[in-house]
Structure formats: structure tokens, C-alpha cells
Symmetry: C3
Subunit: 406 residues, 3 copies
């Protein structure tokens, strides 16, 4: 069919440079965004993954190895041996550290060089050598690491939802990257190949649930309460943003809270609207500028993840079972976020009122970075010596709240 285009309406010609907001996307050492991220603890492995055989860890653009020595102590060291750079991935753990394969230099978890077997006297000057190391702490079955300046190291936070598990309940840690991104734990992927912020900010994007996850195709990904109409308000906290959504469920109001806590923490209520505090927390950990992984903790009588096998097609296939053509036709978060680019181009966006939560979160992060530029510090998580963080995420049946009237 022939169409004659108008010769007046400005087209895509002449767009000029298209750029990300680097402060939001950069995670590497020495970058404003990377320095901000480094002021917080990040999970880098499950406790069960820290074992005798060294394991590679890439986080915030740095290549590290993690191991557990014979005394049970976990070490997280820069991968390249301080001697001549051979990787400690090929090293051997000992009772008190890790030994490099090349010349046998032995290091402990604070990077002390304990032995230099080929040097006179086992290394008369070994005290002058430090293997770059990072402090770690284990909690909730995860190993957390702090990659920032030691003199600014905050306490490792506690999260109230995990501090007093119900009788018979346990804490279940998992590496849940695939489930987080593909709604299918069977997807075989180590690192999701785009910038972490594109996933994390999406948690406060309440409206996309209605479209992408429920009405865009003929398959509702989250049927049930999440398919109902809602009213949403966002609330700014000192250390994060909450999305309060309200839905009429059989005459009662379901008040769900989705929580993003700096720098990359997520707490949301059950997807089926079950009442109660969030029983799952997630950390969206930047591997580098173009990749992220996810660690989750849930609490309960058994391991649980309500995102790990969601049907996306009319014939009930999950992501790992779908063809490219089906993924084009039945997109989910992975398609929507990865196609923004490995690093999205903020300069090209046109944000609306429905993006208010995303805007608030970005501004809160930029505020931390600006404070640091002025010589200050980003907000600390939690209260008191225990750095106890109040988890607000969850689903609450609140008869007093206004029903969704918009």
C-alpha cells in the first residue's frame, strides 16, 4: 500500500548524542557511582559456596577470589597474587589462608603475607607485602563484603524480618538470579547482561505490572491480586523509596508495599497477596557496568520462591522452554529491561507521572553521590549499633485505607 509521508513533521533525523546518566550506572572503582556503592556491604556468595576450592567473584568491576580456610575463616582477596599476578583461583587453601600455585606465597584473609617459601628465611620482608583483600562477614547464610574505605566501614545491617523467625521457620539463602529476571529458575545464566539499575528501579514501577505482566499479551503472568486495578503512592525515606499500592480484594483493601532500600535491596510482598511482612529480601549486586546477579533470602518452613516457574505462554511454557519467536511475542522483565541496552540511555527518556517512584529513587541515589562529592557520606542503613533495618515491604489487609478509587 502506498503511503505519502508528510514533509513537515520532524523525524528521527538529527538526534544528537544519546547518553546514560553515568552517576547512576557506573559501578567501578574511582567512579562517583562506584564509590557510593562501595560504602555498603554486598553479598558476594552463599556461605555454602565459600569452601576449600577457591571460587571467582566479580563484583563492582573487581576480580576477586573467595575461599574458606581450614580454620573456617572466609577470605575475599583480589584474584591476582601480589607477587607476580598469578590468579589465586589456582591457589590452595590451608589451615589459615590461601597459597598461590606459582611460588607458594601464603596469605591470610586480611592479606597478610605469611610465607614466601622461595625467599631467604621464608621471606624476611613479607610483612611489607599485602595481598589486596576485603573484609567479609557472614549472616543469614550469605557472605557479605565491604569494598569501601576501611575507616568508613559501617556495621553489617540486620533486617528485622529475619531476626526472629517464627517457630519452625528458617532462613533460606539462595542465588536466585534466573528467577529474579526470567521468572524461571531453570534458566542457565551466571550474570544478567545489563546494568543493575535497570532491574532495581523497576521494583517501584508499579504500573508495568498491569501492562507487561498482565494485559499486554493474552497470558497474565501474575494473575490473582496483582491483576486487579490499583492506586499507588510513593513514599520517600532517608534510605529508600516505598511504593504503596492499594487494591480492592473482595471488599477488603490489600495494601502492598514494595521497598527499595539503598543501594540495591528489594523487599516485596508475596505475589499472590498473602498477608504479612515481606518474607523475601533480594540484593541486586552489580558485577560491573553491564551485568548483575541476585542473592535472595526467604524465611519460612521451607525454601520458597514465587518467581521461579511462571508460565508466560498460553501453553504454559516458562522462559527456558520458549523459542525466540515466543519470547518476542510474550515478553517479560528480561526483554523489557535488556532491550533498553546494556546501559540504558537516560538522555532519551520521557518520564511521566507513573514513573514517580523511579524518579524518586534515582534522585535519592544522586543525592548520596552529590553528598560524597561535597566530602560527606551516603546514608547509613539501619538503626543503632546493630544497624537494624526495618523491612517495610509486604502485603497488608488494611480496612482503614481508602479503596482504589482512581
Amino acid at each position: 500500500m502506498m503511503q505519502i509521508p508528510s514533509a513537515t513533521r520532524k523525524s528521527g533525523y538529527g538526534r544528537g548524542p544519546q547518553t546514560p546518566n553515568a552517576a547512576l550506572t557506573e559501578v567501578g572503582p574511582g567512579t562517583p557511582g562506584g564509590e557510593y556503592l562501595r560504602r555498603y556491604w554486598h553479598p558476594v556468595a552463599l556461605s555454602s559456596e565459600a569452601e576449600r576450592a577457591p571460587r571467582r567473584v566479580r563484583v563492582l568491576g573487581e576480580n576477586l577470589v573467595i575461599y574458606r580456610d581450614g580454620g573456617g575463616r572466609v577470605g575475599l582477596l583480589h584474584e591476582r597474587c601480589a607477587h607476580r599476578g598469578t590468579s589465586l583461583y589456582y591457589g590452595k587453601t590451608t589451615d589459615n589462608g590461601i597459597r598461590c600455585c606459582y611460588h607458594g606465597w601464603l596469605f591470610d584473609a586480611e592479606g597478610h603475607c605469611l610465607e614466601q617459601p622461595c625467599e631467604p628465611g621464608g621471606g624476611a620482608h613479607r610483612d611489607k607485602v599485602t595481598q589486596p583483600w576485603y573484609p567479609v562477614q557472614e549472616r543469614y547464610g550469605l557472605v557479605f563484603a565491604y569494598l569501601g574505605p576501611i575507616d568508613c566501614m559501617p556495621p553489617l545491617p540486620r533486617f528485622d524480618t529475619f531476626e526472629n523467625p517464627a517457630p519452625g521457620g528458617q532462613i533460606w539463602p539462595e542465588r536466585d538470579t534466573a528467577a529474579s529476571c526470567f521468572l524461571d529458575s531453570a534458566v542457565s545464566i551466571d550474570v544478567v547482561p545489563y546494568n543493575y539499575f535497570q532491574y532495581w528501579e523497576n521494583i517501584l514501577d508499579t504500573y508495568h505490572v498491569k501492562i507487561l505482566h498482565n494485559t499486554f499479551t493474552d497470558v497474565a503472568q501474575f494473575p490473582g491480586v496483582l491483576a486487579l486495578d490499583f492506586r499507588v503512592e510513593w513514599e520517600l525515606l532517608s534510605d529508600g523509596v516505598l511504593a504503596h499500592s492499594y487494591r480492592d480484594v473482595d471488599g477488603r483493601v490489600l495494601h502492598r508495599i514494595s521497598q527499595c532500600t539503598l543501594p540495591n535491596i528489594v523487599a516485596i510482598g508475596d505475589l499472590d497477596g498473602r498477608a504479612g511482612n515481606a518474607r523475601r529480601l533480594n540484593w541486586i549486586v552489580p558485577v560491573d557496568d553491564v551485568g548483575w546477579i541476585s542473592f535472595g533470602i526467604s524465611r519460612g518452613k521451607q525454601q520458597w520462591n514465587d518467581s521461579d516457574a511462571v508460565a508466560l505462554t498460553p501453553d504454559g511454557k516458562t522462559w527456558s522452554q520458549m523459542s525466540e519467536s515466543e519470547r518476542q511475542r510474550y515478553p517479560g522483565d528480561f526483554e523489557a529491561q535488556s532491550s533498553q541496552g546494556k546501559i540504558t540511555l537516560h538522555s532519551e527518556e520521557h518520564l511521566g507521572r507513573s514513573d514517580k517512584g523511579v524518579i524518586m529513587l534515582r534522585r535519592l541515589v544522586l543525592k548520596q553521590i552529590a553528598a560524597m562529592r561535597e566530602g560527606g557520606a551516603p546514608v547509613r542503613l539501619g538503626d543503632g549499633d546493630e544497624a537494624l533495618v526495618r523491612v517495610r515491604g509486604g502485603g497488608f489487609y488494611d480496612d482503614a485505607a481508602s479503596p482504589p478509587s482512581e
Copy 2:
């Protein structure tokens, strides 16, 4: 065998930087070459490929999607949604446009934002948002697009050879990249991985036919009239260059004309020397600086392509059937042009009189780019309101012409 090299003749040492002529090779937005290319219409798909399911199109370094809406209108839009950058490849066509999967924004073919479902009132400010778009027109079974400034948009040319098909004749569009480059339509390739100019200028390189295609190996790729000796003259037009070659065929003179029309159009006579105007046109469309594809149109009673299964080896194999060792031994255009590099290095060339057609074509293109630098415009194709282009390519038995006497 021992050989003692002379110590006097300058070797390959000390060559200095080796560079392309960027004005000829660059195709991206904002580059001199790219801005020149953008003043012309380029085919981006077959009409049959513009359908409900969006299709990715990469052209002149830009990532777009093409679709046909329920009303039959073809849209060609920048891939990244104007909202927050999600790809419209995952979008859904409607009666009048395409809807993004993430938040449901709806756009039409001129980038008007028709709906913002998550915004109050369906988007009170949606008129302020334009999805970057390009005008398209369909002709001869192809979808043509114009990526330049709207106020300079020329008419979509017509080509006289296709305007009045003979009785019973039809126009046959095809995506003929593999046949163009490998002389074998069975080669499975989307984009030929080198700069388009290296293929296009070769059309005027009459002499290589004699060597590469006919005498270099013991298999003549184009036996028949193309194997005969020839005399060649090149003719400069305002919008292209013609190569006039003359061969003695059983006492008559076969006058073949190979035509390159700006910016990337090809018209040549049948390879077997059949008389008549070119019954095939090709467009060598730059995908980006390091890739191109080809669209062809032929006319006749049936689909026809005389390059789609040429035997290159003594045992009659076509390119897709050959081993790496056979391709080394029986090279064709792909080998000769791709090995110049993804982008050839013009600084290293030594051109001769046999390159005159290539030289004329390069100068003509550089002249357009220079004119634009001075605030002018490149030459427009075709005459009159219909922009009718006279196709000169073809094979003509011309008793009056001089037989090849060189």
C-alpha cells in the same frame, strides 16, 4: 634453500599509519558520509516482510523496527521506546500503530504518541512525545525509507525499466544478499561483514572479471561472453558512472553497460549477454560501517537471478558447499573484497588506469560530500515530479560500435 637477501631494497619496515578515506566509508548519523547517504531513499525490507510481528532493521548505523499495522500502514520507528527505552521489537501492532510492551505507550507511523495508558487521562502530555520515526514508501514490492532531514526529502525515484513491464511480466523483489556476494543464494548470511563501498565500486571494475572471475583459477566463473576480451570506457554522469564494455561476439559487438547510480544502486546486463535493458536493479544498503545487505528487483515472467548458484570449483561446487581450503584456492568477490578488511585502507592503494571507473565513482561521491560541506546538496535522482531514473545498464548488440581492438 638458502637465500641471501639484498641489504639495500627498502622493505615493509616503517610504513606509518594506514587509514581508510572516512568520507567514503562512514555511514553513521552526523558523519559526512552518513549525512550524504541520508539524502536518499533506501530499501529496508520487502513489503511482504512488513507485517504484524515487528522486525528489527539496522540501517546506516541506526537500530529501528518495522511493522505493518491493522490498517495496512507501514511504520519504521527507532527501536527504543521514547518512554524508557524498551525495544518496540517486543511491541504489539494495533489497528493504527504499535504498542510498547512495558507500559503500553502507543505510537503511529509518524511517531505520534496516541496513548499513555498509565498516565492520568491516558496521557495529557502525550502530544509532547515523539517516537523517532522515518517516512517510508512502498514501491516495486520493497519498503523504502528516508533517514534524512524532512525538509530535504526528495521524491522516491521510479526506474524506467520497471515502469512498463512487458505483457505477462512482473516485478520480483528479493533480499538477495547471499547471491550478490557469494554467487550462491544458499549461503546463510544476514549481513555481509565489510564496508558497502568495497562491494559497490567493484561493479565498475570491469577488469577484475577477466582475472578473478575467469582466468585466475582453472574454473571460469562467468564463461560465455564475459570470458571474451573487451575494451572498456567509463562515462561520468551527474548521478553515477557507467562502464561501457565492448566484446566481439561472433562478429557482432556486444556493448554491455554496468551502471552505478548514487548512492548505492546497481544495474547491469545479464551475465550471459542476453540483449536488452537491465532486468535487475540492486541496492547495496549499508547496515553500518562494517556491514551491508542487498535488495534486488528483477522483471520478467518469473523470478530470476543469474548469480544465485555459480559453480566455483572444478567439481561444480557453489560457495556454500566449499571447504576453507577450496575457498582459498577458488576465490570470488567475497574473498577479494572481505580480505581488504572490514574497512579497507585507502592510504595503501596504488591505483592504475584499469581502476578509472572506481576512481571516477569515488570522486563523484566525494564531490557530493564536499558540496554538502559548503551548504549545498547532493545530486537528486531522476527527472521531473516522478523522479524517473533512466536505467542505462544492460547488454546491446551494437553493429555501429568499434569492435574491441585494444
Copy 3:
């Protein structure tokens, strides 16, 4: 297990830029390191590999082709034809040169353009065209090339250990990259993917044999004499460095000499401690900044290589038979050196007394490069018109030397 990190010891935070010493690692044309390397002859192929069918050669960052013409003369030319850049890999050798496939230009081994078939008179100006070429000489079954300035071309060295083979002995050239690096000639690899200097300097690293190769895992890679304790001294020569190691073998002293001769030559004694001059020489040839290959020559009654099938695991597997997990657990030279990086980061090293040989070698190379910066030349190999190099490597039972008493 909970560990509370001290908040005082400086961690890996704030490390600053990490860089290689570019003078040691760069091999390309025009770089200080590359210019130094270019003053020497390098093997580029076995004589048996220089045959009618052209073969690609990449050396010191340059892309070349090698061929042997009908008259037996070996040519080594830049890959891209001087006409318009088509690769001579697709060329055809003739009695006296190589002909390009595109337009048939014919070149000889000194880059003379002999024919331009498509030009008037076969090319009236062909004498003005030079195909970039490099002089070659064959010796010991290898083809050596010189990529430096012709007026500085040294004689091709001779090596005394190969000049007078014992009766019944022969010279055996081989491309032994896999054996050199993986201790397993069955590994299928063309180029080892890291900078050549990381392999070459390791030859003088006597101490790593004790750790990496013999005690680090529960499998001694070089059992026998190399597993014995040793004393080592390094000796600086004008053109290289020697590592003298002394071991007590059943009451006699085994004095092994490992020799690195500029710019990339290796001569060591048999790994089983057999007495005699080195019967193998190796050249560690840089392909580019991030890759190397190895050519070896051995002498004897038959082809011999004592590195070509070393068991690395308790169940006797060689490298090509091992899984990734086994390679992590039983590392060898490839793991130790490749994990330093494609190009190691000298800025991060902490060298000790056991690195003395490596330090001496690096300083010797840097001294050559500094001399060239001042307008001088690097040291020439060998003595006299025949440039005879005295090979010092080997194993010698020396009753007069001090037994290892350290």
C-alpha cells in the same frame, strides 16, 4: 562462622591505576618494544610449511603471507596487495612469485611488481609499486624473517650446538607451541593467548619449578632431578641471562644452565638431567601484544621433545584430557602465566630475591630499548661474520662445583 573484621588494616580499596610496563610488552611497529624486537631475526614458519599454497603469518602485530615459488624461493609479504588491498592468501604462486587473485598483479619475494596484467603494456609504472616485503632466510629447517630497517639487518645467527651434529644425528625443527605451554603436544591451539614476555622470563624463574611443577599439588610434574633441592645463581651476559642451578645427585653435582638469549630464545638442559649441551632451542615468537607461538629445534637421532606429554593429575592425565575443575586443581605454566592477564600488570608486582633472574632479564631488555632511544642499537647476537652464538644451556656433572648447601 561470624568474623568481625578489624577496622584498621588498609584493604584493597583505593588501589589506583594498574598498568603493564609497556616497553616490555609492546611488540607492534613503531613502539619502543616493537622496534627493539625488529632488530632481530624471528622464525615465522617451518621450511616445510613454506609451499605453493600461501599461508598466513601474523608476527609482531603484522599480517603477512608466506609462500614458496616454483623456483624454490620463499617470499614473506604483507598480506594486503599493494593494488587495492586484497589478501595474497588468495593468491597463486608462480615460478617466480605470487599473483593476486583480484587483478593478477604479480610480485616477487622482494616486493617487485613484475606484472600488472590489466594495465597498458602490462604496467608501464609497475616499477614504482612495491609490495611490502621482508627478507627471509632458511636455516635448521626454519624460515627466519627480519622485520626491521634493512640497513641495520644483522647476519642470521648460527648456534654452535646445531652446527656440528654428531654422526647419525640430525636437526629436527618443529612448531611446538602446545608442548611449550601445556606440556602436552595434543592441545589444539595456534596461538597462546597472552603476552610472550610472561612465558619467556619464566625460563629464568628457577624457584617456580620447585613449587608449581613439583610440590604445589600431590603430583610432581618434573620428578627426578628437578625435584631435588637446588642452589641457584644468575649470570648476566651481554646478550642474555643464565640461571645456574646446582643439585646433589647421588653424590655428584648436577649443574644445569637455563639460558635466555635476546630477544626471545631459550636453551635449557634435558628435564631428566641427562648430561650435555642443550639439545633443544626454542624461540618464543610474539604474534602480537596478546599472543605468542613457539618454534623449537632439537638435535639427535630422532625427533624428541621431553615436554610433550607430561602427566598432571594423579590418574596420569595430560592437559588436553583434563576438565576445568582438574585444571583448577592441578595448574601448570599455562594457568600460572595466562592468569596474570593477557598483558600482566607490572605496577602491582612485589618482586623478591628469588626473582633476581627475571629482574636481570627485564633490565637487560630495557637497556636495549633505552640505547635505541638514544640513537644506538640493541646488542647483536653471535660472534664473527657467521654470528655464531655459543649455547650455554644444558646439564653438566661438575665435581668441582659446590654442592647445594643453602
